[in-house]
């Protein structure tokens, strides 16, 4: 599978995937809806899938000495790799902003534990719908994207709006006791993401097996 991931990065990935992944840094912008970072984390992989269709990536891969389901596994892993890298890139900036921008983010949610918990959920919703829809045909990327990005954006807006209600002020905080209160959201996010990705792989692989290339 390492070779397949190497192939994904060296041949399949569109340059935008790397740029959108780097946008994890946006959490250092003083006032910005940080939920957009996760949307960029969905856009990058989508553009790569579109690019893959134009470069006949799946045909090339299908002729390599690999199983048909490995093609799906590699794509799922590429999504995970890009999104986890994006989170890792954003982390130092999220920590830094607590010190250099102590007044918080007036535009929306603060880059805190709840934010990352929601982020995992946004990624998971997008990946599940996009990949399982895409691998029904292995070419209809646009339709899969539309179906996936709408609920993912809805989750993002929900997160951004929620913190403006006084009742949910604790979600917008970086204070220690609020962070403790937020930690279950992060745990739920990570568990949800893991389960959804495993499920996404199984469903997508089964669908792709039936596709005639």
């Amino acid at each position: 599978m390492f070779n397949m991931l190497y192939k994904e990065i060296r041949l399949s990935a569109h340059p935008n995937l790397f740029i959108f992944t780097l946008l994890g840094m946006l959490v250092i912008v003083p006032a910005y809806p940080y939920g957009m970072v996760f949307i960029f984390g969905c856009l990058g992989p989508y553009i790569t899938m579109m690019y893959g269709r134009e470069t006949n990536d799946i045909y090339y891969t299908a002729l390599l000495p690999v199983k048909k389901t490995d093609i799906v596994k590699a794509k799922c892993l590429l999504f995970v790799l890009a999104q986890m890298t994006q989170i890792l890139i954003s982390l130092p900036f999220a920590i830094l902003r607590v010190y250099i921008l102590p007044d918080g983010n007036p535009a929306g949610i603060e880059a805190n534990l709840a934010y990352y918990g929601f982020g995992f959920i946004i990624y998971a919703v997008f990946n599940m719908i996009f990949l399982t829809t895409f691998f029904k045909t292995a070419y209809k990327a646009g339709k899969a994207f539309l179906l996936a990005i709408i609920p993912a954006t809805f989750c993002m807006i929900l997160m951004e709006v929620l913190v403006h209600f006084p009742k949910f002020k604790w979600l917008d905080s970086t204070k220690a006791y609020d962070l403790l209160k937020q930690s279950p959201i992060l745990v739920i996010g990570i568990v949800f993401y893991t389960i959804v990705m495993l499920l996404t792989y199984r469903v997508s692989a089964n669908r792709f097996k039936k596709v005639d290339l």
Binding site: N3, Y6, K7, R10, L11, T55, N56, D57, Y59, Y60, A62, L63, L64, P65, V66, K67, K68, K209, K210, D212, L213
Partner: protein, 248 residues
């Protein structure tokens, strides 16, 4: 030794049926798969390679069931799909760097040698290659992992007569010097006259005949008109078999 054996391969599409295709190729031979456009040649090749899901039939390569030993068999297999270019904007060296990682038998010296013999520049991008050069690059990849069987879908279509002749001569050399077995589909009959040992003819999704070239030609001589004395060529056979009357 039989290198490739296809038994009753079937595939049903809405409006098209590939019906019980069977043939086999011995080691070191070239088989041409012919038929007009849309006859089912590509579907046959894709069905054999599990790129499309077959509705029935068996495929054996190197004595193994292809569908059970797909990864193992593909290590010894080279495939060129006509008209499909991979990664147009990538350099050949990038594609090679990735491809070689997947093959246990990759031979760097052989790769350098074929790149040199075919005058392929590794720094060129795929889109900068002519159609003939693209086929040669794909063949280079196949030969560098010591493929024993080449399956080529319309490798000569879109090539000028010189490039076509060049490629067909190369196939013959590969068979004679390296004992490689080749299955290639084509709708260009002169390709077969020059290069094939065996011919398999598919018409409207059905196998019409699969035989050694001379036997194949002999078996269609009944198509001669009563006043014809000359032997029918492959082209005559195909045209007469496919000829239709239009009621317009």
């Amino acid at each position: 030794m039989i290198i490739l054996k296809v038994d009753n391969l079937s595939k049903k599409y809405p409006g098209f049926l590939l019906d019980d295709i069977s043939f086999s190729i011995s080691e070191g031979k070239i088989m041409g798969l012919i038929g007009k456009n849309g006859a089912g040649k590509s579907t046959t090749l894709k069905g054999m390679l599990n790129l499309v899901n077959r509705d029935g039939g068996m495929v054996e390569m190197f004595g193994m069931d292809f569908f059970k030993h797909e990864e193992e068999i593909k290590q010894q297999l080279g495939v060129v799909l006509g008209g499909i270019d991979f990664y147009n904007h990538k350099r050949l060296s990038d594609i090679t760097a990735v491809t070689k990682r997947f093959y246990n038998n990759w031979d760097d010296d052989a790769y350098e040698n074929y790149m040199d013999v075919f005058s392929l520049n590794p720094n060129k991008k795929v889109k900068e290659l002519s159609s003939g050069m693209k086929v040669k690059y794909m063949l280079t990849l196949a030969l560098s992992h010591n493929a024993k069987l080449l399956i080529l879908d319309e490798p000569t279509s879109g090539l000028d007569p010189v490039a076509r002749d060049d490629l067909l001569t190369l196939f013959r050399q590969l068979v004679e010097k390296k004992n490689i077995t080749v299955l290639f589909s084509t709708h260009i009959i002169t390709d077969l006259e020059k290069c094939a040992d065996y011919i398999t003819y598919i018409k409207d999704g059905k196998l019409l005949k699969s035989a050694e070239k001379d036997e194949f030609i002999d078996s269609f001589q009944y198509l001669r008109e009563p006043d014809e004395n000359t032997r029918l060529s492959l082209e005559d056979i195909m045209i007469r078999t496919e000829r239709r009357e239009y009621n317009v």
